[in-house]
Structures are given as C-alpha cells and as structure tokens.
C-alpha cells in the first residue's frame, strides 16, 4: 500500500468512515452522499489521484450503490456511495473530475439516477430516444429483457 493510500485512509477516518483493504493494492471506502464530494475533492486535488476509471451502478434491492473506481499507478481505490431507489438523486462530480460526464450519463440511462450538476443530465446517451418512461431502467433487477423487447416492438426481430 503506497503512501498516498495511507494518507487517504487517515483522511477517511477524519470524516467518519473507514478505508477497507479488499486485497493487495485494492481498497474500498463507503461514504454517505453529503460527504462524497469533499472526499473525492481531497483525493483528486490534494492527493493527485486524478484518473477515474469508471463509475459502476449496483442494484442492492432497497438502495442503489454508486461506485467510483480511481486508479493511481498500482493502487485502485473504490469510493462507494448509496442512494435510495425510491428517490435516485446523486450529486455530480463533473466539477471535480470533468472526465466523469459520460459515465454519469450512462448511469442515468441504465439505472435512472439523476446527477445534479451534470450539464448533460437530461440527454440520453445510450438508450433509444423512444424509450418508454414507465419502463424501469434496464439494469435494475426488476427490469426483464422480455418486457423491454415487447415494449420496444422487438419481438418480431427476435423471431
């Protein structure tokens, strides 16, 4: 574990959470929404871990987890935050990491999470324009492939 990760770990403890090592060179920190931006800002601006690999969404049943994967040389740091499924609104980190813009748009399409502060948050990136509003976002566990195919009129194409 490099010095940067150790420093990040002590900062995480200051804000009331904990950096847990997953395995060699890989660790994860879980943080509530309101402290997320301060933590990422510290990671990017003070510790110069500037490479965001991607953002992953996870359906956990009651909540949705958003995981930011940062990498610096041999170390990988996952920062995980949670939003309730009933009100999927998260804060955008585009002002800290401009490269996150497309990943947030992808999560908006696939999980229906709205990122407040993303300049393109209302645009569609991956889903078709005619995607029905009442259909659940495709990567939620409640969304079924057959249902999507039926609603988009793709049944005929399958046969």
């Amino acid at each position: 574990m490099s010095e940067t990760v150790t420093r990040f770990g002590s900062y995480a403890e200051e804000v009331g959470t904990k950096l847990t090592p997953l395995r060699k060179n890989e660790s994860i920190v879980e943080i509530p929404q309101d402290k997320l931006k301060a933590l990422i800002s510290h990671l990017v601006n003070d510790l110069h871990v500037r490479h965001l690999m991607t953002i992953t969404g996870l359906d956990l049943g009651q909540n949705l987890a958003i995981t930011y994967h940062f990498s610096m040389e041999q170390d990988t740091i996952h920062v995980r935050t949670f939003v309730p499924k009933t009100e999927p609104v998260a804060l955008s980190i585009v002002d800290i990491v401009p490269g996150a813009i497309l990943y947030e748009m992808e999560l908006h399409d696939m999980f229906g999470i709205e990122f407040v502060g993303n300049p393109w948050k209302d645009r569609k990136l991956l889903l078709p324009e005619e995607w029905p509003d009442d259909l659940p976002p495709p990567l939620l566990k409640s969304s079924k492939a057959d249902q999507i195919r039926k609603r988009l009129g793709l049944e005929a194409a399958k046969k």
């Binding site: 500037r50 690999m53 996870l58 994967h69 041999q74 401009p98 497309l102 569609k124």
Partner: protein
C-alpha cells in the same frame, strides 16, 4: 446535391465572413447498412467547430444485462465478442476479475501464451489503424501496404489459436490451446520483418507531404486537459503521460518481460502516428522475448463452475487503452453484476476536445486518431441556420472534401471519383427508400 464540395467550401467560407452566427451540423445519423453508427451534433461557426455533443449507443447490445443470466464461463466468450479487433484482451480482463474471486492461480506458461496473443493483437490493431489513417488522409498506398503486412501477424495468430479475430482461446486460470511446436523461429523472424516495416512506415510519415499536411498540428490538446478528462492508452501517452496498465499494474507475464513504454510530447495527430508505430516495435520485441523464454508446465487449471461470493475489479491495457471489468458474485452459477468499460468511452471526451477549433475538413482525421471503435464517417447532413440551406454528404464525400481542401491540385481527378461514389450512394439510398 448539385454543387461540388469545393463550391460548397467557398460558400461556407463566405458565410463565415457574412454571418458570425453558429450553425448546427448533425453528424452521422444511422443506417443498418452502414459502418458502425454514432451521432455527433456539431456546432459550427463558419467552418470552425466550436462545440460537439455526442450521442452514442446505436449498436448497444446490452451485454451487461445479458451477462446476468448466463453462466460464468459462457460470459467469457460473450465478452470476447465486445470488439472485432481487440477481442482477446476482453476475455483476459474479465477472466482476471473472476479468477481473483476463486482461489486458483494461473500457470506461468499460460500467462506467457496470453501475453504473446495480447501483443500480437496490439500489433494487428495498430497496423489496422495506421492503414485507416492513410485512407482518411488521402494516402491509399499506405493503407494497402500496411493492411498487407497485417496479414503476416494475423496468420501467426491463426496458427497459434486457430482463429484470426475471435480467438476463443482463453479460459479461467489458463488457456485452451498450447503453443504449436517449432513456431519459435518463424515468429521471431516475422516479428523482425514487422519491426523493419514499422521503421520504414515511420520514415514515410515523417517525410511524405500528404501525411505531414493532414496530421501535423491537428487535434492539439494539453496534457492537463487529457489528464482531467481521464483519457487512456495512446491518447494519454501522446501528451507525455506515462499511463499504461502494463507498467503500472502488471498482469499476465508483463512483470517478467522487459517492456518499453513509449511516450511522446508532440500532442498532435502526427505524434499519435509516431507513437503507435513505436509501440508496434516495442510489442514485436515483447513477442520475441516471450516466445524465446516460454516456460514449461501446465497451461490450465480447471475450476468449478460456481464462483464464491465477492467482488473484484480488473483492468488491462487494450490496444486503444485501458479496459475495465468489475465482477460481483453472490455465489451462484451466474454473476450478480458485470460492468465493462471500453477505452473509446474513456477517450470520447478528449476526442470532443480535440475537434474543437478544427475545421470541417479535419473531422475524419481527428476522429480516426483516437482509434474509435466506430467507423461512423458515413452520412453527414448539414444545416445552415442563416440561409436555411440543407445538404447531405456521405462519409466518402466528407473524405474527398478533406482531401480537396488540403490538396486542391488533386481536385479534378478526385472530383470525378466523388461523383461516381455519390451516384452509387444515391442508388443504394433509393433501393432502401423503395422498400415497403
């Protein structure tokens, strides 16, 4: 369309003087008969691009959703189909993410065989890209030479894996086929041949007027912008960032093989050409070294079909840059969630930044420069908001426009070619329109 591209260019430039207003150019709507479709909305000021808004996903196949209902092993070969050029690296990266969840280790010989295929794939992908660059810049001789040399490495890949593109050779904790016997001398000799060719191409791109004019000082971005936009692979290394997974977080056999990481400082498309040719030479050296030092031993460890619960991420260096896989298991036969991120997604914000400030004629070259996984140059429609004039160009016409813009002396010959292409295109279009 009645006017030639050149007349249109004149009119467009005249428009720049008369109107300072911005016009919107929708770039590349879709058609199932065309190459990989993507869409960019370009905001132009005269001929200069001031803003670009992307709209991708026309060929999104929902692989992540599909993975959740398929067994772990089957997913490996499905994710290999993500890309038709750099396929093996996807199965390696997905495999690594899953292998880490089990307690099994990959044998050393299998790691070396993976490295050999991965680097051959990089050589094949870079050669393909250099050829395409020649094509879009208006230097088709280069395209034909380079693609001819590409067959050399594809033949080797076929001899080792049995397939040219989708090798289907990887397995969890190993590979499915051993290296054929007595291949060593042949591979080393072919790698030397490719190194010599790459040196020769490097000489060509440094001296040939067509390539210099089309690529030098085109698509400049600063290192700071690239770092902020989280670009990966050659797109990060061409501004001097040493961002390479093979160096930073070695996987396969890269921790044992001497590796030359190439970076350049030009920060333009010409620098990217130099960088990829230099990388090709470095890859050829890696292949030669790995073949000569191939360890003995088993090539595979068989693992049970049920993967223990847990989560893990893995990243690898594909020819286009870093790819990322995340796997979460709940201890069943199928994954709970698989996430895959491809390099073009990471490089797209940088490409949009490169396009800003360039002219219409540079679009093919700049968009090809990031080595996109979409060939999206087909069909552009233009709309001038001031004059309400609309016109449509196919990708071929856009390419001709770019060539005529830079080399007006070739105009006459090229113009007639463009005309014949246009006729062909309209014929195809009519055929589609007549269909009920």
């Amino acid at each position: 369309m009645t006017e030639t591209p050149d007349q249109q260019r004149k009119e467009a430039s005249a428009g720049l003087m008369e109107y300072s207003a911005e016009s919107l150019v929708p770039f590349g709507p879709i058609h199932p008969a065309l190459k990989e479709p993507e869409y960019f909305k370009l905001v132009l000021e005269g001929e200069r691009i001031v803003n670009v808004i992307p709209r991708i996903g026309y060929v999104h196949r929902g692989l992540e959703k599909a993975a959740e209902s398929r067994p772990w092993v089957q997913n490996m070969y499905m994710f290999e189909r993500t890309c038709g050029i750099c396929s093996f690296v996807h199965s390696v990266c997905y495999g690594q993410a899953v292998e880490e969840l089990t307690m099994f280790q990959t044998p050393r010989r299998a790691k070396y065989i993976r490295t050999i295929i991965l680097e051959m794939e990089r050589i094949h992908s870079h050669l393909l890209w250099v050829g395409l660059m020649g094509h879009w810049a208006g230097f088709d001789t280069l395209f034909m030479w380079v693609w001819n040399d590409r067959e050399v490495v594809l033949d080797l890949v076929e001899a080792i894996s049995g397939n040219r593109v989708h090798k289907s050779m990887n397995a969890f904790c190993g590979v499915r086929r051993d290296m054929p016997e007595n291949m060593e001398d042949r591979i080393v000799e072919r790698m030397k041949f490719l190194t010599d060719r790459a040196r020769y191409y490097r000489e060509i791109i440094d001296t040939e007027e067509t390539m210099l004019k089309r690529t030098e000082n085109i698509g400049r971005v600063s290192a700071d912008t690239v770092e902020k936009l989280c670009a990966v692979g050659p797109m990060a290394r061409y501004v001097g960032l040493r961002r390479d997974v093979r160096l930073n977080d070695p996987y396969a056999a890269y921790d044992e093989i001497p590796l030359d990481i190439v970076t350049r400082n030009e920060g333009d498309v010409h620098g990217l050409l130099r960088l990829r040719l230099d990388e090709l030479i470095a890859s050829a050296n890696v292949v030669s070294y790995a073949v000569k030092n191939l360890p003995d031993g088993p090539i595979r460890v068989k693992i049970p079909p049920i993967i223990p619960a847990g989560e893990h991420s893995s990243h690898c260096e594909a020819p286009r840059g870093e790819i990322f896989y995340y796997a979460k298991s709940s201890g069943g036969r199928t994954p709970e969630r698989i996430k895959s991120r491809q390099p073009t997604m990471a490089n797209l914000p940088t490409a949009l930044e490169m396009l800003k400030g360039q002219t219409l004629a540079d679009i093919p070259v700049v968009l090809t420069a990031i080595d996109p996984c979409f060939g999206c140059m087909d069909r552009m429609s233009f709309y001038d908001t001031e004059t309400n004039r609309k016109w449509t160009w196919s990708g071929e016409e856009l390419r001709q426009f770019g060539i005529n813009y830079y080399f007006p002396e070739r105009k006459k010959k090229q113009g007639s070619l463009a005309e014949s292409v246009r006729q062909k295109a309209s014929h195809v279009e009519r055929a589609f329109a007549e269909e009920p």
